[in-house]
Symmetry: C2
Subunit: 230 residues, 2 copies
DNA sequence: GGGCGTCGTTGCGCTAGATCAAAGAAGGCA
DNA sequence: TGCCTTCTTTGATCTAGCGCAACGACGCCC
């Protein structure tokens, strides 16, 4: 059942049975309550995690105390491969937003795994590279696109990642405050609220307290991509 | 002399002589004229490069044609380790801004090197991770900081990277138009021009056509870090 | 079920910075 | 030397989105 989880995780998906069981049996299980931190920005990068249950938020905080959300993490997401690099520090906070459980490997275990299963090294490079490319895209977006479009893309991403189908739409299965969306898209909660209200008037979404339901994906995609509004 | 270059490059620095000579002798030399591209966004990632001479620009272009500069590359900079990943595409353009020369390894050569010198795999992960962390910082900056501060940081970075000491300051040894600085910081050439003019009036910098000289690093750092202006 | 804390909405004013327009410099080349 | 291209500066105007403030709504806990 641990190997099932690993299979659903990009990092381990499709590897040899033997590799999976080795990884699974070397893992420890860690429980973190909602609001608590898996690790903090600046801590020595001591563990690699694969989230098993719950949700968590990757964020950075500015010297002035403003927060930026770099990502929202759900089950089967791998985080902290930087622990494979001797002496590295975590560059971000990882905070559980609900009670969560994760498989975890410490540095020593991770090194042993990487040595006996070299494919995991290539996988690590592949994972970091693909996150790097995603971040580049978000950077470009932030540098060149309007708030409305960035918000549209963020919601489409979240729906794709943790959408739960429902009568009349797909709901983001995650408590998600306006403030969270603001920190995720580089704007303010006021602007998020106004934009969501406008979309709700237009019938594109329905929303409530810490909840967003996408009703008309096509129109939101049109906003995100600047297609002609049909 | 090839190994000298590799030594100055983060990726190879401090490795065993044997590894360096193996890498150096496996490399090919490629010349690219100013304005030409080493590779384009979307091309299959076929080669890994270490720039030997000249300068180049890593950039992304939006569907609407707006350009964003992700980095400026000088000698001894390694680019394109993504070529180690089978099937990957380059996510960016790499364009020579002057006549340039680079050492280069194709996919097959790169794989052979990585297999016979496993330390290079860990180095690759380390390099991508550190670039990832840098990009995260720039992302946070873009999301939370004013243009003036972002521009101050960009200039400080450039001075640290390619500064050439001169009478009365340090000049950025790179032809650098206002438009380039704008694309590097996520603003417009008008705002860059106004800001530089203000700084020049204040005696912090001197500037000219495609040229910036930093005269008062302390004051610019104060702007970049929001220290009290002495 | 009533009170309270948290979250969301919306009107209003404001400003950082984009955009437009037009007029200089600086260099390259014939 | 003079023309032409490219880069830069600066004024004027405009606007997206920020920040504040006040109010409203939801949900939780005693």
């Amino acid at each position: 059942m641990r190997t099932d989880l690993l299979c659903r995780c990009h990092y381990f998906a499709g590897l040899a049975e033997e590799t999976l069981t080795a990884a699974a049996s070397a893992a420890q299980l860690r429980h973190v309550s909602g609001g608590e931190f898996f690790f903090r920005q600046g801590d020595p990068a001591s563990h690699f995690y694969v989230l098993a249950e719950g949700h968590a938020r990757l964020s950075q905080i500015t010297p002035e105390g403003r927060q930026v959300i770099m990502g929202l993490i759900g089950p089967a997401h791998a985080i902290g491969i930087i622990a494979a690099i001797p002496g590295a520090l975590y560059p971000l906070d990882l905070q559980a937003t609900q009670d969560s459980q994760a498989l975890t490997w410490n540095q020593r275990t991770l090194h042993m795994l990487l040595e006996s299963h070299p494919v995991l090294g290539l996988r690590a490079l592949r994972m970091v590279s693909s996150r790097f490319v995603e971040l580049q895209d978000r950077y470009r977006e932030l540098a060149t696109e309007r708030v409305e479009r960035r918000l549209a893309r963020a919601i489409l991403r979240l729906v794709a990642q943790v959408g739960r189908p429902e009568a009349g739409g797909v709901t983001i299965a995650l408590p998600l405050a306006r403030q969270d969306l603001a920190e995720l898209t580089g704007t303010t909660l006021y602007t998020v609220s106004r934009t969501l209200s406008a979309w709700e008037d237009a019938g594109i979404i329905r929303s409530g307290r810490e909840r967003v339901t996408l009703c008309d994906p096509a129109r939101l995609t049109a906003i995100a991509e600047d297609l002609p509004t049909a």
